[in-house]
């Protein structure tokens, strides 16, 4: 019976999917950043930080002040560089969950600012002064409001229990411990450094347990399914990109009749030393706070698990609208671009083009990416946008190798051949003229550049790119 229910559930999912596809078949409008609100947010953050600073214990005030100032600076810098999304639909979702948790658990001290980061990393964070950040990469992995609610409740718990400031304070304390100097003398500086690092990790593991269990306490008073914790924690455990999604086929995407795909573009580079099997001075496992997911699940189980009458979690219960899920997936292409992660932006764009081959935004975005990659290679800033390493996320490895293997002229030729086709070039889109102009000029194909410029002037006599399109 059970399997039947799952089948029906899956079938209904597919129906919903179809509706969502329809909406984005041809268009997508990227989500906004904050505009004037940026300054207001920065002021708020500074005010909150100043309030904490003034109430600090005298003993550790100076050091903690510096750390808090650094936090404020970092948040301000990210706000200014459009690191955060300002979107009504996302705000509504997050706001709904926020008010459900807070109204059903009335008390003071909840985070006051919730911001959606463009980061593709599936994570959320609590900054201690009232800011809570949820990454777009995390939202893209969620299926239900309950899942979001658990994550938000967990971060709220960190704030309610004042974990962040407490953790910083105790870390400072551990480092300035008088016994430490004596200890360093006896056991050596490195041993003490190791000990401190382990202590920090141990401390944060304890705090994670506390936040998990408080999250369940908060959720139990709401209409959400508190039993969701196992699923959410499992998801955090698979930190790599979900293998269930398809890897884009580079060969078919970049194979043009006038410029065929070269297999050597996919050959891994020679690396003398190769991958390291032995990097850390400290044992990595005992240093991470998140990886110990099974232990975290077991801990919450021991408090609220089957003995306490745990019911199973029903993933069909409070699903996030599939149209919003699709929007979030599409937004990953644009958000990673805004934060200068061009390789990942291309990964998501190719993946989405597999789903929506006729989406105009995606086509333009791929053209834009290719031209930007060409320009950054020319200006010797490429590796700011495309990392070079022997360690890539597994799903993305092929794309990273491809992008790093390409020579400047090859990127230009791929860009040219991609844009200069009826299937892609859109005569009604100004940007397409501009991109084709840049790339044909880069390839010294001035005849084409001139044609493009003339056509552009004819169609858009007051075009916004006229200034930038000069031969």
């Amino acid at each position: 019976m059970k399997s039947n229910a799952i089948f029906l559930f899956l079938a209904s999912l597919w129906l919903m999917h179809d509706q969502a596809y329809g909406q984005y078949e041809y268009e997508y409008v990227p989500m906004d950043s904050f505009d004037l609100q940026k300054e207001i947010l920065i002021d708020e953050i500074n005010t909150d930080i100043a309030a904490i600073q003034s109430s600090l214990p005298r003993s550790s005030r100076d050091e903690l002040k510096t750390i808090l100032n650094y936090k404020a600076e970092l948040l301000a810098r990210r706000l200014k560089s459009n690191h955060f999304i300002n979107d009504g639909e996302l705000d509504q979702l997050v706001g709904k969950v926020y008010s459900e948790i807070t109204t059903k658990n009335p008390r003071a001290g909840y985070p006051t600012r919730i911001m959606i980061s463009r980061s593709p990393v599936p994570n959320a964070s609590c900054w201690g002064e009232g800011t809570m950040i949820i990454n777009l990469g995390l939202l893209s992995r969620l299926n239900t409001e309950s899942e979001l609610a658990f994550i938000m409740a967990h971060e709220m718990a960190h704030q309610l229990l004042d974990h962040v400031n407490e953790a910083t304070l105790s870390a400072i304390k551990r480092r300035s411990d008088r016994g430490l100097k004596r200890q360093a003398k006896t056991y050596g500086k490195l041993d003490v450094m190791k000990e401190i690092a382990y202590d920090d990790a141990r401390y944060s593991r304890i705090k994670e347990h506390e936040a998990d269990s408080m999250a369940v306490v908060l959720l139990r008073n709401t209409s959400y399914q508190w039993q969701v914790y196992e699923r959410v924690l499992d998801m955090l455990d698979s930190a790599d990109y979900p293998e269930t999604r398809e890897r884009p086929d580079l060969k078919s995407r970049f194979d043009f009749s006038k410029y065929p795909f070269k297999d050597k573009w996919l050959e891994p580079p020679h690396s003398g030393l190769g991958r390291s099997s032995n990097t850390g001075l400290f044992s990595a496992d005992s240093l991470k706070s998140h990886p110990n997911i099974p232990k975290r699940i077991a801990y919450v189980d021991s408090l609220y698990g089957y003995n306490a009458g745990k019911k199973s979690y029903d993933p069909s219960h409070d699903r996030i609208a599939s149209s919003l899920q699709q929007r979030i997936d599409l937004e990953m292409t644009s958000s990673t671009f805004v934060i200068n992660d061009y390789a990942k932006s291309m990964f998501y764009t190719l993946q989405m083009l597999g789903q929506y081959p006729e989406n105009k935004f995606l086509k333009t975005h791929l053209a834009r990416l290719l031209v930007e990659l060409y320009l950054s290679r020319k200006n010797h800033t490429y590796n700011r946008y495309v990392r070079i390493s022997n360690y890539y996320p597994k799903m993305m490895e092929e794309l990273f190798i491809f992008l790093n293997n390409l020579r400047m002229s090859e990127i230009a030729k791929l860009a040219y051949n991609y844009i200069n086709r009826d299937a892609v070039f859109d005569k009604t889109n100004e940007e397409h003229y501009f991109l084709l102009f840049i790339i044909s000029t880069g390839l010294d194909n001035l005849e084409v550049s001139e044609k493009v410029l003339t056509a552009y002037k004819n169609s858009f006599p007051n075009g916004q790119y006229l200034e930038a399109m000069k031969l």
Binding site: G188, G272, S276, T279, T336, K378, H380, Y382, R387
Partner: protein, 520 residues
């Protein structure tokens, strides 16, 4: 050719390095730079190509008066490869390192114990073996000078897949020592000392084939004599048996070899250099031209080829009989930095044009009673010679750059120009930076630094790269001026086909290092 990477001394100690956690995608950024003196930093080379970097820092006291050192090895992409600690004496420095495709060899020098410590690591970063070797008196002086000047030596060289050779001196620098250390600590190494009782013999690494290591030996009648004879000595890598010793001076000419490579296709050792009139006692100019000798496994010179300035090169460049090359309003001799065989078999000789000139600032100084020399060496254009695999001239590329001057120390005004060029080289006075070969691309890139004079704009320091690819030379430039929001950019050699850029911003106190492809 080895490069000192001083920038590492600006980085924080390994334990304090902060890699921006959120921005996984990008280059490494080191924040909150504090000045920390590094014990040693440098590149890990395999066959002149960078496969990684090392940083050795002194951390703390250890037992028995020793120190604990933190050794960090980064891979070619600047990712952490291995971090470990060592306990050694207080005066231990990392002198040189090499990689042979299988293992990393680190050569430390202990200035107090007067010994070398060789430590080899596997590709997994595990310690394979440790060997100590006492330094001779002369070697102690040599390494002391090296540590003080913070330069890297080139005595340690890798033999692909087999081991390493290290060159030393004995008998007050009158005798050479060749030391072979296999990668596998279970295998036996060997040590050879020059057997000649008379005269002075010094040796350095030339190249290796599958089975033999070839060393270039310079022989002089006495320690102060300038009358040099050269020979190639070949040793069986596994056994250490000398398979031949061939004197290079022929009946016709006196020669000064500059570089060598083993050609896999012809199975012949190639030696390239400058040739002079027979009987020339002291080298003063660029001689009569360039030669190429091909030597078989028995040590016989089976092919001799001579290209003269007076006839052969004159078809390609304006050159006088002694090798002084003129272009537009410039002329000068050529200093050869490196000779390298391309993947297509053709050969590139990387040269830089230089000449002696009066130093205006020096003259003014002297008039005011200063003691500086009134001579300087003017460094001019890059000159790249391209030869076919048969050592015929395929072309000469002149790459124009701004003149730069190298002021000579007092008393050097009368030294001959050829000697001066070696002083300029030893003091890093040339603009040439490095040559790197990318086998995968089948390209060879030559890097140099230039101060570009611009019309209507501020003069600017640029890094230039000349790349040979698919039979042609092309150029790329990276401006090193003051980019937006940054205080400086520096360029260091990177893995083949790449440079490493470091950008520093005083405002945000961040040092960003990243690899960038050389465009061609």
């Amino acid at each position: 050719m080895i490069y000192k990477l001083k920038f590492f001394s600006m980085m924080l100690m390994a334990s304090c390095m902060i890699t921006c956690p959120g921005a996984w995608g990008q280059s490494r950024t080191f924040e909150n730079i504090r000045r920390v003196t590094m014990r040693s930093t440098g590149t890990i080379l395999e066959n002149n190509e960078i496969s990684g970097y090392y940083i050795l820092s002194d951390v703390e006291k250890a037992k028995k008066g020793n120190r604990t050192y933190l050794l960090k090895i980064l891979d070619e992409n600047l990712d952490d490869f291995k971090t470990t600690t060592l306990e050694e004496g207080k005066y231990v420095y990392l002198a040189e390192s090499a990689f042979n495709g299988e293992s990393i060899m680190l050569k430390f020098v202990d200035m107090k114990e007067k010994s070398l410590i060789f430590m080899s690591y596997s590709k997994n970063g595990d310690l394979l073996g440790k060997k100590e070797k006492e330094l001779t008196k002369r070697e102690t002086l040599f390494y002391r000078a090296m540590v003080t000047a913070e330069t890297e030596g080139n005595a340690l060289n890798s033999i692909h897949g087999k081991g390493f050779v290290d060159y030393g001196m004995d008998d007050n620098a009158k005798k050479y020592i060749i030391n072979y250390i296999p990668s596998d600590p279970q295998k036996k190494g060997w040590r050879k000392r020059s057997m000649n009782v008379k005269g002075v013999e010094n040796a350095g690494f030339l190249c290796s084939s599958n089975d033999y290591v070839y060393s270039l030996v310079v022989k002089r009648p006495g320690i102060r004599s300038m009358d040099m004879q050269t020979a190639i000595v070949s040793h069986d890598i596994e056994l250490g048996v000398k398979s031949f010793e061939t004197d290079l001076n022929s009946q016709k000419y006196k020669v000064q070899p500059m570089n060598g490579y083993f050609d896999e296709k012809t199975q012949l050792l190639n030696v390239i250099g400058i040739f002079y009139e027979p009987g020339t006692k002291q080298v003063k100019d660029n001689g009569l031209g360039l030669f190429n000798y091909q030597i078989n496994f028995s040590g016989e010179i089976v092919n001799e080829k001579y290209l003269t300035w007076a006839q052969d090169f004159r078809k390609y460049v304006q050159v006088d009989n002694k090798g002084m090359i003129s272009n537009e309003d410039r002329n000068g001799f050529i200093f050869f930095h490196r000779i390298i065989q391309n993947t297509d078999g053709s050969i590139i000789a990387v040269g830089e044009q230089y000449k002696k000139a009066a130093d205006a600032a020096g003259i003014a100084g002297k008039a005011l009673g200063g003691g500086t020399s009134t001579a300087k060496v003017v460094i001019q254009d890059m000159v790249i010679f391209h030869f076919t695999k048969e050592f015929d001239i395929a072309g000469v590329e002149m790459v124009e750059k701004s003149k730069s001057g190298f002021a000579l120390p007092a008393g050097y005004g009368l030294v001959n120009i050829h000697m001066l060029s070696n002083i300029v080289k030893a003091n890093g006075g040339f603009d040439y930076s490095f040559t790197s070969q990318n086998d995968k691309d089948e390209s060879t890139s030559i890097g140099y630094v230039d101060y570009e004079r611009k019309k209507g704009a501020k003069n600017e320091l640029v890094f230039g790269a000349i790349t040979y690819y698919d039979g042609e030379f092309s150029r790329d430039k990276i401006p090193l001026g003051h980019p937006k929001d940054k205080d400086w950019i520096r360029v260091y050699p990177g893995k083949p086909g790449y440079v490493m850029l470091m950008e520093y911003s005083q405002k945000t106190k961040t040092l960003e290092s990243r690899l960038e492809r050389i465009n061609f």
